[in-house]
Symmetry: C2
């Protein structure tokens, strides 16, 4: 029995009026990305291909903060991170600090398949991408009018607050919405997870969050579960959140629901951290949880109807 869940970020409601039309657009984007992964699972595709297809669709959708539509860093460029992991053999690919890779999750997959390294960053990652034949694009490709406007507004607030002192914009009051991710179990019992993000709007150039870090934002192991997180990345790094869920199952005998509940509702909330995660276990049970007002998400299990949720 296959199972697939995706997310498009957890956080506060977007600042702009969240009209019915806008909500419908988010729901449509989630449904399309879910369908892209589900199509593969329906035809005996593997979990790894399914999470990659779903995340690629979310990267291409400018509504989400990954690939096209990524937020801008303090220096006004998009800097992208992604990771993907195969729970069958613990192969993993992680990439960060990209400026020219159209689909970061596809570069993460290429790193996974190559196998010589797990984690590549910056120019070295992009030079590997060229060798692997991936599509490179100008940084402008990622930047939508909405994100440019968000960036200008951030800069203006920063200038007003600091009388022009140049520091990172780093606005944690800005909703960190829009990181995307997917977790899947395929019909053969294989698990996989993938996550992709533009990070936090106004972030210091070079800042890497939890998304591309195996164990923090992304983890999969057929014996336990697959996890993708979203939210206040610094806290997910400190708590090694994705692997923490897997370890609760492996060493503590937790059910997936109890593991996620304790991790998100008790521990993270106790630390003052905001965010959420999606997870699927080896039997295909899906659990999603967030301690923020909203988390864009969708899921489907073989023979059941797909569900798209926001609140």
């Amino acid at each position: 029995m296959y199972a697939l869940a995706i997310h498009g970020g957890a956080g506060d409601l977007p600042r702009e009026p969240f009209t019915t039309a806008r909500e419908a657009a988010y729901r449509r984007g989630l449904a399309q990305a879910l369908a892209a992964g589900q199509r593969l699972l329906e035809h005996d595709g593997c979990a790894l291909d399914a999470v990659q297809a779903a995340v690629t669709a979310l990267e291409d959708d400018p509504l989400f903060n990954a690939g096209r539509g990524a937020v801008l860093s303090a220096d006004g460029t998009a800097e992208l991170d992604a990771a993907i992991m195969d729970g069958t053999d613990l192969r993993a690919g992680a990439v960060a600090q990209l400026r020219h890779i159209r689909n970061p999750v596809q570069l993460a997959r290429a790193v996974l398949e190559d196998g010589s390294q797990v984690f590549l960053v910056g120019d070295g990652a992009e030079s590997f991408a060229r060798q692997a034949g991936l599509a490179l694009v100008d940084n402008d490709y990622f930047i939508t009018p909405d994100r440019r406007q968000q960036f200008e507004a951030l800069k203006l607030r920063q200038t007003q607050a600091n009388s022009g002192v140049s520091t990172p914009l780093l606005s944690l009051d800005e909703p960190p919405l829009g990181t995307v991710g997917a977790v899947a179990r395929d019909g053969a019992g294989r698990l996989a997870a993938a996550t992709s993000t533009g990070g936090i709007a106004g972030k210091r150039s070079g800042r890497v969050g939890d998304s591309p870090v195996i164990g923090a934002g992304t983890y999969a192991d057929n014996h336990t579960c697959a996890v993708s997180t979203t939210g206040h990345g610094e806290w997910f790094l400190r708590t090694v959140q994705a692997y923490d869920i897997s370890a609760r199952l492996r060493y503590g005998g937790y059910s997936l629901a109890n593991a996620v509940s304790e991790a998100i509702v008790q521990r993270l909330s106790g630390l003052g951290a905001a965010g959420g995660l999606i997870a699927v276990d080896r039997l295909g049970e899906i659990v999603t949880r967030h301690n923020t007002p909203i988390m864009f998400r969708a899921s489907v299990r073989e023979g059941e109807a797909a569900a798209v949720d926001i609140y």
Copy 2:
């Protein structure tokens, strides 16, 4: 009761003749770094300062593959990574892909103290270092004649093997010896861990190993233990090794000795991965373990004699 352990890498014996004089130099370097950390713990210093002092000493020692004496990447430069973590409040600082920071662990500490981010890489990390007033140096500072010679030998073998095709040198047959790290428990029961490395000789530029990744190469939590790993970094990333030890204690009720033994002797060896780790738990018990021929290491506990070991 304070406890401090350090390592200078796990792997095969160095390729060059391991003379008595050379072995004595390694032992002296380890003893000096241990003493640098111990001095602080003797005078009620905190675990965080102690691991930073020990790792700084190892970075400054050209025998070890961290700071001065780091191995060279495929493009002939030193690219440095480090992390440090405070087990009291889970504050952490991680830096990667540095080319001009004299003591990477000190930049990691500055990131930890700043607190706005956990993980900074590349030019953005070095720009943060300038703002924090850290010493920047030419890349040549790191490169010793021994490392230059190792690099030329690697290039020659690569050219002979590939008839000049340009690929990363990436030689896993090259002993990955020399990553450095420290773990400490201070008299007040606080735990901390730090790790610093130049990575693998001939690595693809941009490759980040486990050392700077919180949860993989470095982790500390007062409730469980502090861990620093060394060895085949790609496998430590996939197994989230440092946090795995902590999770075995937290969720599985393992003793530190059993946790480390199962992780290194059974799991990692089973996966075909080579390396080792040092760990200290909340009661000050020190455990070091490696599945490689050697691991440079030293440790001391309050009121006991210091020990330096290689085999």
